[in-house]
Every structure is written in structure tokens, then in C-alpha cells.
Subunit: 596 residues, 2 copies
């Protein structure tokens, strides 16, 4: 395809015209940087992604990872070449301290660079994305020697990292983790158990793999509070193989380039000592594993939203390109069958499908960059209050930033297929793979339903509702910026509609929590998540619209048209959702398994 | 999987408790039949589908059709075995006249039997589905000798049929068909051109393939009115190869078991006479080809809705089975982490996903069987008025019966994946393939957008709106059957909501056609299609609900719960759609290609 992977113009708009990321250079942490260095790292990402990641995207789909008889993993060589280029460019360490060899870039800028890789090749980009999240956890919680032994090589691109939570019998239910870690008496632990769905779980891409493993130590009590976190490297510091064994690879519908593994820890395949178990190194304190892991999990959830966005965005650009060059049929009202066929993009229904995609992927991208900037805010804002505020807002937005792109950028991919017609359903084009790749994102790192429970059951009620209130206030500040005397009639109307939707969200939240039965409160938490998501995206679109104020030209007209689409076609979908929620509907509570 | 392919209990409910298909045996055409023979053909379908079609569904996905160097098609042998069993059972001829060797069964019963094959294996079932539709066209429009030469062998399962409309440069735009047919002077024609997306376009499954080809004869004038229809067999009656050449096979995301071909007609690969071109035999009169083809196309559109339904239904049953046996987590409010995990189906959000699937697939099945019964009505109802009424109602319902299942039974497949969690995304389970298979159905035989244009641009305005009025009256009769004094409060409420939705549909249709710009009228025809579809399905659910009246037990409670789900969660989605439509929204009309 001749279409670009992403729109650099849109990134510039969002980062500089809307979020004013250049202002971050005034902060001490980023004082060595300038808009030029920000641009350079985004350009570098675009360049490497275009040249090294995109070309093998289809090939790695067709030639998925296979397990060799000797237990090693066979990957197409292009994957290692691409990842070596990524590592050599120093991009794993983009946001890390200079003291660790990092570039000390803002997260918003680093993610804007990373997005190109995710758009070019979701599978291959999964390795560094997980490695970065793993490294962030270690930077926060690991000991000095763990940082030297494991974090530094990850930042150099020599090691990759994983997160090992799920087990075959317990996908989403961490309460039921049975992997055990026994103290060996020398400060290390012996880890035994089986972990499932481990992305990047095994490969020969790097010198070592740093598994972060949730396991139970004796005396930890039942449930998630008994979990501790361990570094379990594939190779021990002396170079001997640790007892971590690849059992099998999962063969998936999409996202095939990334290995996804079932791993045994301590099954004796590679015995390391008289005592059974893989050698593990405790991170931080015992029984605090889940708290640490949430640090990584929350980051990865935002990453999932971003990869869903990137895959949706690149599909949109391909559909747009196709709609401009492919001719078919005539415009409504053209009666002369001998007239020339017109490009697809002249058909209103095709424009509808393109506008829908545009509103989804550009909205999701804006939200993802906004959340990334909140990471910078929580780390570098001037005051403690600002940092706390950023953390709280990010907490509330995280389930939405994960689930909304997973749902709607998948829909964008479906519409990209539809714009291509029958060709889009064939493997001659890329859009069918993008659709398959993106379907993963509503499942992993907390399913759609779990994000709903997180938002309604935890995030909007924590700190006595302070998180929701902060979101409402933040949206209110945007609405207040719409000067009715100056704004276009449309914009003023959107601000009113958004205000009304926010009021409904607040009211519905109260109503749901006024039910005396938590089963009823949470029964429709997925619907709540979706309604809240659309409200947040309407806010993000109003923000973008305000950033176009007084600006002319096709690009800004496009933004305004997409905002109009979102307000005319999408936000109204929340009305019946709020109606359902405020009725405390019991349909799904009352239906009995035997009735199916 | 241990789950059944379809629910025989649901079919019995729909056919006998709701539609009273047994009453058809009172009609002369079906007088040789009884409920027992109806049951027998459904059981036969279920048996052959389970034993011969289902076992190779995954294998034919993994081993898709390939073109050999000699130009023939390589298929896994199980496909031919299965199709031979189908043909030997006489099922191609299920609805045809006894005089043609048919079983003279009602279409509703034949389709209920065929559904098992479509649920078991969408790819392999595509061959007979197209053959039956082709045969129906020939039975209506072909000459006596064409019937003997081509139709009878198809009914015997010895020949298969195709429909050849699209061309590489013109997928949906039949105006731009360039395939030509020149009279050869001996009553035959010479056909030259290229046809694309031909399902069953080439294979060695049968002795011959009967292509029905749209082409232009000289003097036919431009546009679709110049099209004529030809039988172009792969092999001529004397056994020599006709000049029909397989150029390539399309390699698709799903639905891989069915060959989908690019065919050349008359490119000289198999020259048949001094004059270039494949030999074609005119069906009916010149220049009436599209009218004849619509006979087949309308039937195939309902078939597409049925295969979408079948694939959605079988995925639902697999998700249901999985939700019953897989344990995970605890119910809301259970605080003891040492308690046993519960089956997935105990979780409210999983019940929501199962109820959604149930409301989609059982609703779609009911609509499909209703439309099938309309075919029987148009052919065998007692009075001319009843037959005309059935034809008109079927005309209006056809775009919905095609597009609604394609959209919502795909959503059911997505939810079936979601219920399976990560496992559902792997190829160890079937649901990911069902999702890929089903994505085709919004594309072929008229895209989703084209169905919208057909409904709003043609069907609801033809005969001065008589079709829409008939639909409204028919729904009104159902509402009138709800006796408010007797009915449960829920049912009476649903009847009122349905009545209000029908009023909005009528009003919106008037408003749209009151616009003085047809581009504005049709701008949101896809949204109109979706809103009208939900109204029709709400009606179908009220019909089913009335058929449960006074009946107790899990099955009927399940029907009532699914109806409740549809009225609480689905029908309200139409309100913002109607709002958008009645505003004569211009967003998609006004957005300019350059703004993207």
C-alpha cells in the first residue's frame, strides 16, 4: 500500500497544537530536550517502523512462530532484524533516566514514536512494548543489583521482558493463582507452576528473557493478597539455563507475529539445584506482588488501547487510499449509465464509513496521547497536587483508554474491510489481518467485562468518588472554555450535549450505587463502561474542536467534520444506555443458566 | 465440541408452535407430506451435517482450495464426500416438483434442513446453496431442453451451479458489466469477458458446472437494461470443454472451504469454434437478464442471512457449552477467596453476552424461517391476493433478512469469542473461524450499504409505499393480538414500544422522502436499514413471545428472557437512529473528500 502508516500531520496537531507537549521542555527532567528532539524521535520511529517493521507484517502472519523439536522457537528472521534496529536506536530506553542510559523523553513523545511500530506491525511491536512496561516496573520496585543485572540490559535491547500472571485454569482470576515460590534460604526462591498466555514467553531474539512472575510464598494467605512478584530469568546471571520451559505456543486468529506461550516453571527440564523449581528473585517485599504488578498492568492497559488505536488508524488510512483510487458506480441521482464511474469516496455511504473510522481512530489517538501526557504529569508536574490529580484522572481513564479503542478501532477495521468490498476480505490486502490482529485487544490484559467492573466497581467509587468528580470537573473546564458568544453554533450545541451527557453519567452512577444489591449495581458494568467511554470521547472531540478554533484548511475542516460525526452519530447512542442503567435493569441478573 | 450444531428444540418451536408449518400439508402441493416427513428431512439434514460436514470444517479452513499448475482446483477430499452424501440424499431437489424428481417440500422445511449444513460448514454448504438458487432460476425461466440438460443433473447432485455477475473493475456496479455475448447464428452465443468473486467457480466436485452469466448482447443499450442471461457450462453437452478458464482463486480471511474464483470466458484457452468466445445459451429473452437474475439474487440474499444465522447460532451453542463447563472466578459479592470457582455462566456479564447472542441468533432464525414461509405462501397460498401479499412482504423484508443477520450474528460470533476469553482467540476452538467465516456476509450478494439503498431507495417506496404499509399492517396485527387484559405486563409494554417504533419508522420514511434532494434522502440509508431491522426483529420477538403464551418450563422461560433482552437492550438503540434520520442530517453529504 502506498498509504502512510500513520498521519504525522495528526500527531503534530495533537502533540503541539492541542496538548502543547513542547512546553514540557521547561521542566527540569526534559530540559535537555526541544521540539526538535521530540520531532527527531518521532521521525526515527516512523522511519524504522516503515522500513523494518511494516515489510514483514504479512509474512509474520503467514509464517507464525513454531516450536522446534528441541523446544526452541522458530521465527522469521525479519523479526529479529527489526527488533535489533529498535534496540540499537535506544528506543526501549526512551523515557528512562539518563543515569540508566535513557533518553529521558516525555512518555507522550515516546508513545507517539512507538505508535508507528504498533501501526506497522502489532505482533513484532509487542516485544518491546512489554519490555518497556517490565522495565518501568523494575525501575520503580527492583533492588540496585536487580536493576544492574536485568533492567540495564533490557534498556540496551539485549534482554526482553514478560509479565506472567495467568494460569491455564485461571485466566482472569488471579485469586486462583497456584504457582508457588519457596524461599531457598539463600535469599532466592524456587518457583514452580505453569503460566499461560505469556506474550514473548520464549524466543531466541535476545540474550535473555526477564519473566516477572506472580506466585504465592508460604504463609501468604489465600487470594490475591498472598501474591508476591519474582524475576525469573530464562538464563541465570552465570549463563546457565534456568528451569523455565516452553510447553507450547498458542496459535491465534491474529497477532501471530508475537509468540504467546504456555510456560512451565520448575518442571525439572533444566534442573538448577538439588531443590526443585526455577530460581526466582523477589521484587520488593513479599505479599505485595499484585500491587507492583498493577503498576505494569495499568501501563500495559494503556498500551493495549494504543496498539488497538494504531491498528485501527493504519486500516483507516488504507481504506482512505483505496476509496480515493478505486472507481465504482455513480453518484446518487446520476442517471446516465455511460458516465464515468466515480471514486468510491464520492459515495455518501463510503464517506460515512470513512468519517466513522476517522472519528474512532483520531479520537482514540487523542485519548491515548492525553493519557500518556498524564503519565508525564504525574511524574513531573510542578506541584504535588497536580501530580496527585494526574494520577487520579489516569486511574479513572485507564479502563476506558484500554477498552474503547479495543472496541471502536476494531469497528474501524471492520469498516475498512467494508470500504474495500470483496477485496478487503481477501489476503491480497492488509485490512483483514488488521481486523484479526485487533480482535485480541478486547480480551487480553483484562477483558472488556473486567474493565467495566474496574471502572464501575472500583474507579468511580474510590476515594469516595473523587476520581469521577475529577473527570467531571475536567470535562466541565473544557465546556467552560466554549465561549457561547464567540463559538460556532455547532460547538456551543456540542458543549451543551456533552454537559447533559456528563450529568447523566453522574446521576446514573449514583443510581447504580444506590441499589442495595451489588449484583444489580454491577450487572451492566460493560454497558456503563461503553457509555462512559463515549462521553469521554465526546469530550476529547470537543477538546480537538477547540484546538481548531480560527484555523482554516482541509485538515481542520476534516477535524470539524469528524467532531460533527461524533456528536451527531455517536454520543446519542449513550441515551438508551443511560436509560437502561438508570432502570437498574435485572434482565441479566434474573436469567437462569437452565433457561439457555 | 460436544455442543450440537443447532437447536432442534428451537426449530420445532419456530416451525410448529409458531409458524404452524404442519398446516401446509393441507395444500395440494404438499399433500403427500406430513409432519413426520418434515421431521424426517430435518433429521436427515442434521445427521449428514453432523457426520459429514462438521468434521472437516476446520480442516478445510486450514487447507484452503489451491490451483494446481494444470489449472484444476485441489480440495481436501472430505468436501466431495460430504457433497456426494448431500446430493445422494436428494436434498438439492428438496423443494422441486416431483415431476423433476424433487421432494416437493415447503421451502420453510427445506431451509430448516439446509441450516444444519450451513451451521456445520459454511464453506462446503455454499456449493449446494448456490446450486439450488441457480436451479430455481432455471425452473422458472429456462427452456424445456435447458431444463433437461442442466436443471435435472443439478437436482440429482451431478452438476453444480454458479452466478456470474461481478467483474474485477465492477463489483457492485452491474451497469459497468463489459462481458459480451454475440449471437453465433445457430441460436447459441459466444461469451467473452472476465467474472470475479465466483463462488464455486471451478472445482472437480461434479461432472459439470452450470455458470449463469450476465452479459451484453449487441444493441442492448447502456446500463443494466442491456444485460442478458446465459447458461455457460464448463463442459458442453457433447462432453468437450467449453472456453471457461480459471484464472485464479481468491484467498480469503474466512469461508475458505468454498472456492471463489476469477474466471475468463472465451479467452481461447479451450477454443470451441472458429469464433472466439465460450458457448452460451440464452435464458429466456434478450435484455431481460437482470430481471431473471434478481430472481436468483433475492433468494441468495435470504440464503446469506440464513448462513449468517447458522454460523452465529452454532457459535452461540459453543459459547454456551463452554460457559457451563469452564469455571472461573466467583460471583459478585463472594468475598471468600478459598471458595470454589463457579462456571462462567454464573457471572452476570457472561449471562449478558449469552442473552445477547440468543436474542440475535434466535431472532434471526425466526426471521429467516418466516421469510422462507413467505416463499411457500407466494407459491401455494389459496388466493391470488394472499400470494401477492406474500411476494410484496418478502420484497420488503429481503434486504433486512440479508443484512440484519450478517451484522448481528457476526456480533454473536464476536461475543462467543469473548465468552471463551483467550482460548476463543486461538485456533484450538472453533469460534474464531466462525467469526472469520461470518464477516463475509455483510459484503457479498450486495453489501450492507447496497441493502440500505435497496430498502430505502426502492422497497419502501415501490407501489406508492404499499410494501412498507403492508409491513406496518402486519406488525400491527401482531400488536393487536396482545390482549392487554390478559397479557403479562411486560408483553403489553413491549407491544406499546413496538407500536411506537413502527410509527417512528413510518414518520421517518416520510420525512426522508420529503427532502428535495435524493442525496440527502439516501445519505443515511445504512442507518435506516439498521433501525428498520431492529424494529422488524422486535416484531419477530413479540411474535415468538406470543407463541410461548401459557407455556411453562426452561425453554419458554429462555424465550421470554431473550425477548426481554431484546426489548430492554436492543430496540431502544433505534431511538437515536430515528432522531438522526428525521433531522435529515447532512454530515456525510457535506464532508468533502479533500478533508480526509
Amino acid at each position: 500500500m502506498s498509504s502512510p502508516i500513520l498521519s504525522r500531520r495528526d500527531l503534530d496537531f495533537l502533540l503541539y497544537e492541542w496538548l502543547d507537549v513542547a512546553a514540557l521542555t521547561a521542566r527540569p527532567r526534559f530540559s535537555e530536550h526541544s521540539k526538535d528532539t521530540f520531532d527527531a524521535v518521532i521521525d526515527l520511529g516512523a522511519d524504522i517502523a516503515t522500513k523494518r517493521f511494516r515489510p514483514h507484517n504479512k509474512k509474520s502472519d503467514t509464517n507464525e512462530p513454531m516450536m522446534r523439536p528441541d523446544g526452541t522457537v522458530e521465527l522469521i528472521p525479519e523479526i529479529k532484524d527489526a527488533l535489533d534496529a529498535f534496540g540499537e536506536a535506544g528506543l526501549v530506553a526512551a523515557t528512562f533516566d539518563e543515569a540508566l542510559g535513557g533518553l529521558q523523553l516525555p512518555t507522550a513523545v515516546a508513545r507517539a514514536s512507538l505508535l508507528w511500530f504498533q501501526a506497522a506491525n502489532a505482533g513484532t511491536s509487542a516485544y518491546p512494548v512489554l519490555t518497556i512496561a517490565n522495565a518501568n516496573l523494575l525501575a520503580e520496585h527492583a533492588s540496585a543489583s536487580q536493576i544492574d543485572t536485568y533492567l540495564r540490559p533490557m534498556l540496551e535491547g539485549r534482554f526482553f521482558g514478560t509479565m506472567c500472571l495467568s494460569e491455564p485454569h485461571a485466566g482472569s482470576s488471579l485469586t486462583d493463582v497456584t504457582t508457588k515460590a519457596r524461599p531457598a534460604g539463600d535469599g532466592t526462591y524456587r518457583v514452580t507452576g505453569t503460566k499461560m498466555w505469556i506474550t514473548g514467553g520464549d524466543h531466541e531474539l535476545t540474550e535473555n528473557i526477564v519473566h516477572l512472575v506472580l506466585a504465592k510464598v508460604p504463609g501468604g494467605g489465600p487470594g490475591v493478597h498472598g501474591l508476591s512478584l519474582f524475576i525469573v530469568p530464562k538464563y541465570l546471571p552465570d549463563g546457565t539455563r534456568n528451569d523455565v520451559t516452553l510447553v507450547s505456543l498458542n496459535h491465534k486468529m491474529g497477532n501471530r507475529g508475537a509468540t504467546n506461550a504456555l510456560l512451565n516453571f520448575g518442571d525439572g527440564t533444566y534442573p538448577v539445584s538439588d531443590e526443585a523449581g526455577a530460581i526466582g528473585y523477589l521484587v520488593g517485599d513479599e505479599h505485595r506482588g499484585l500491587t507492583y504488578m498493577f503498576h505494569m498492568m495499568n501501563e500495559v492497559r494503556i498500551d493495549v488501547g494504543l496498539v488497538a488505536t494504531a491498528v485501527g488508524y493504519t486500516g483507516f488510512l488504507q481504506a482512505l487510499e483505496y476509496a480515493k483510487v478505486r472507481t465504482q458506480g455513480r453518484k446518487t441521482g446520476e442517471k446516465n449509465p455511460s458516465s464515468h464511474p466515480v471514486p468510491l469516496i464520492e459515495h455518501t455511504d463510503v464517506k460515512r464509513m470513512l468519517l466513522a473510522q476517522k472519528s474512532y481512530v483520531e479520537g482514540a489517538l487523542a485519548l491515548g496521547l492525553y493519557c500518556s501526557l498524564l503519565v508525564d504529569e504525574q511524574q513531573t508536574a510542578d506541584t504535588h497536587e497536580q501530580r496527585t490529580r494526574a494520577t487520579l484522572l489516569l486511574d479513572v481513564l485507564t479502563p476506558i483508554s484500554k477498552s474503547w479503542p479495543a472496541q471502536w478501532c476494531l469497528e474501524a477495521n471492520s469498516l475498512a474491510i467494508q470500504v474495500h468490498g470483496g477485496y478487503g476480505y481477501t489476503r491480497d490486502y492488509d485490512v483483514e489481518q488488521l481486523y484479526r490482529d485487533n480482535r485480541l485487544n478486547a480480551i487480553h490484559e483484562g477483558t472488556h467485562g473486567i474493565q467495566g467492573l474496574d471502572l464501575l466497581g472500583r474507579k468511580v467509587v474510590m476515594q469516595e468518588g473523587a476520581g469521577l468528580q475529577l473527570l467531571v470537573d475536567t470535562i466541565g473546564q473544557t465546556i467552560a472554555r466554549v465561549d457561547e458568544s464567540r463559538a460556532a453554533a455547532d460547538t456551543a450545541g456540542y458543549a451543551k450535549e456533552l454537559g447533559a451527557a456528563v450529568e447523566r453519567l453522574t446521576a446514573v452512577t449514583s443510581t447504580l450505587w444506590s441499589a442495595n444489591d451489588v449484583a444489580v449495581t454491577l450487572a451492566n458494568s460493560s454497558i456503563y463502561l461503553e457509555a462512559a467511554g463515549h462521553v469521554v470521547l465526546a469530550w476529547i472531540w470537543l477538546e480537538q474542536l477547540l484546538a481548531t478554533d480560527g484555523k482554516d484548511g482541509d485538515f481542520y475542516n476534516g477535524k470539524r467534520a469528524a467532531a460533527q460525526y461524533f456528536y451527531h452519530y455517536e454520543l446519542p447512542k449513550t441515551a438508551p444506555q443511560f436509560d437502561l442503567l438508570s432502570s437498574l435493569d435485572r434482565t441479566t441478573v434474573d436469567v437462569r443458566p437452565d433457561w439457555f
